[in-house]
């Protein structure tokens, strides 16, 4: 088989895997919708509707048809972008989600940049100085990040950095004063304000995002640090590291030009996963900072039993993870010649 053909089958296999995963995901969300104790008809018609109205809505939702038929209807709806209407807000679910998602993406992206920017160098530092004081310091530092409840650190940070020191903006995505000033184009406030040329709004948004992003970043850096440290220790024990030293490379050249490039693949994978869980929404931080994001949206839908919205949220989280896995597979191929 020629190399090109192998690559072709590799790509085809990947697309097949994605299709199967996606189908499984849709089955899952469909059954969540059907098996949850919430009654979708009752949620629409209300508690004191007549029996006829109830029956009518029951039929109009297609609930009288066999389950498999309902599933195909559901599939059709999903692929035509019809996710139903949210009972809670009365708006199409997809519109609600498009409204909250950018806030979360913005926060998650900022957070992962901080998390990886902090976690990777610290992990390398700890590995290189294994069992010496930098290693211990890093371990304690990341243990704190891992074990402190984020709603608590969130509040403490707000009190210290916002209330007392006034270094950062408080809750929300920007100062009250600026709300509604910038037209929503992409939903990404940092981008919209730049496009509109409203620098005041932009800096206000930066001021507001920096604290929650730093806290989220710190907590996900704990995991990234730990994994980087163990990946790096693995590599530093390899013979090729000795080879590089024998050639006359310095310790830091060996670490960065030989060992580190061998952990890129693994790093990409774990950072992508960490990013994924941030995109799922950080309910606690979003609540503490009154951040109108995906986490808050999902939670309030769960509480009110708004099943259309919940199903769609689960679907989106699933798709995010499929996408991130695909991305790390692609990077895998770029970074590691053995997988080509």
């Amino acid at each position: 088989m020629s190399l090109r053909r192998i690559r072709f089958y590799g790509a085809a296999g990947q697309i097949g895997t994605i299709a199967v995963t996606l189908l499984g995901l849709l089955l899952l969300t469909f059954f969540i919708g059907r098996l949850m104790p919430a009654d979708p008809v009752r949620a629409i018609v209300g508690e004191d509707a007549t029996r006829e109205t109830y029956e009518q809505v029951y039929r109009s939702l297609g609930l009288d048809r066999p389950l498999w038929e309902q599933f195909f209807y559901y599939l059709g709806d999903v692929f035509t972008g019809n996710f139903g209407t949210s009972i809670r807000t009365g708006q199409p679910v997809i519109q609600d989600i498009l409204h909250v998602m950018p806030a979360t993406i913005e926060l998650a992206t900022f957070a992962i940049l901080i998390g990886a920017g902090l976690g990777v160098p610290l992990g390398v530092l700890a590995a290189v100085n294994k069992d010496r004081w930098p290693d211990h310091v890093v371990r304690v530092f990341s243990l704190f990040g891992h074990s402190m409840p984020i709603f608590w650190t969130g509040m403490i940070a707000l009190i210290v950095f916002y209330a007392h020191l006034g270094l950062v903006g408080g809750s929300g995505r920007m100062d009250q004063f600026y709300i509604g000033l910038v037209e929503e184009r992409t939903g990404f406030l940092l981008i919209d304000s730049l496009v509109a040329g409203e620098m005041d709004v932009f800096w206000s948004a930066v001021n507001h995002i920096i604290l929650p992003a730093a806290l989220l970043g710190y907590s996900s850096s704990a995991y990234i640090t730990r994994m980087t440290r163990s990946f790096m220790l693995d590599q530093l024990g390899q013979e090729y590291v000795t080879t590089a030293r024998v050639k006359g490379l310095s310790r830091s050249q060996t670490i960065w030009q030989h060992a580190f490039i061998n952990i890129r693949v693994q790093l990409v994978t774990i950072i992508a996963l960490a990013y994924g869980s941030l995109l799922e929404g950080a309910v606690l931080i979003e609540t503490v900072f009154a951040w109108p994001g995906f986490g808050q949206y999902l939670t309030s839908n769960l509480i009110t039993g708004d099943m259309n919205a919940v199903m769609t949220c689960v679907l989106i989280v699933g798709i995010i993870f499929i996408g991130l896995n695909l991305l790390s597979d692609v990077l895998y191929r770029i970074f590691d010649p053995r997988t080509r």
């Binding site: 390899q238 013979e239 090729y240 000795t242 080879t243 590089a244 030293r245 024998v246 050639k247 006359g248 490379l249 310095s250 030989h258 490039i261 061998n262 970074f335 590691d336 010649p337 053995r338």
Partner: protein, 278 residues
Amino acid sequence: MEKTILEVENLRIRYGGAPTDAVRGVSFTLGRERLGIVGESGSGKSTVGRALLRLLPGATITADRLRFAELDLPSLSEKEMLKVRGRRMSMILQDPKFSLNPIRRVGDQVAETYLRHFRCSKAEARDKALAMLEAVKIRDSKRVYDQYPHEISGGMGQRVMIAMMLLADPDLVIADEPTSALDVTVRLQVLNILDGLVRDRGIGLIMISHDLNLVRNFCDRVLIMYAGRIVETLAAADLDKAKHPYTRGLLAAQPRIGGGRAPLAVLDRRPEWLEEIA
């Protein structure tokens, strides 16, 4: 032996946290010759090699004398050692499967030695590396240059390793079991290439091995190590006339073609060998 390039006197090495020394008072000298160090696993032979390059993290190295050409090795700073490693003294490691960086092109890894030690352009280093790959008898050097370690065979990998370590024209090469990981059929090929280059360039060679026949054929002199000490020093040709019971034991424990099916002799290690010095 025209000129001494290495003088080792009373070399002692202790690993961090270990109760005793791994190498206990080893002394030898080396000219532009091929010296074999033989001994069982754990006898300290590889440790000696790595100590010369000062690549034993956490270990304490002491010696009455440790001279390499004009350099007093223990007094060199780490920065000065960087100019010694790869340039003046290098080491061929055991298994190319592990000793080559899996995600970098083979040729770039060879060229890196040159780039590290000489002021030159990347293209120049590439040309040097290509020439060296040809010197280790890699025919299709341009193609091999761009391959990754997993795409080449073990014998080819070890030739790449030799090219990498001889590229900067060092005075001393330590070969740490250079052929133990190879098939018997390619072993001789690789050894012949190494031997040819070492002779042509007048490089001092320390061959660390536990293969007595290999050392007999490719070395001028042999040191026999046991439990961190040298128990006997011999000309390779005189290996059969060895006097020390440990060396004799090693020789007796070798299987021979046509030697019948009688059980091989088992080394009986005597405690007094731990204390004596040859």
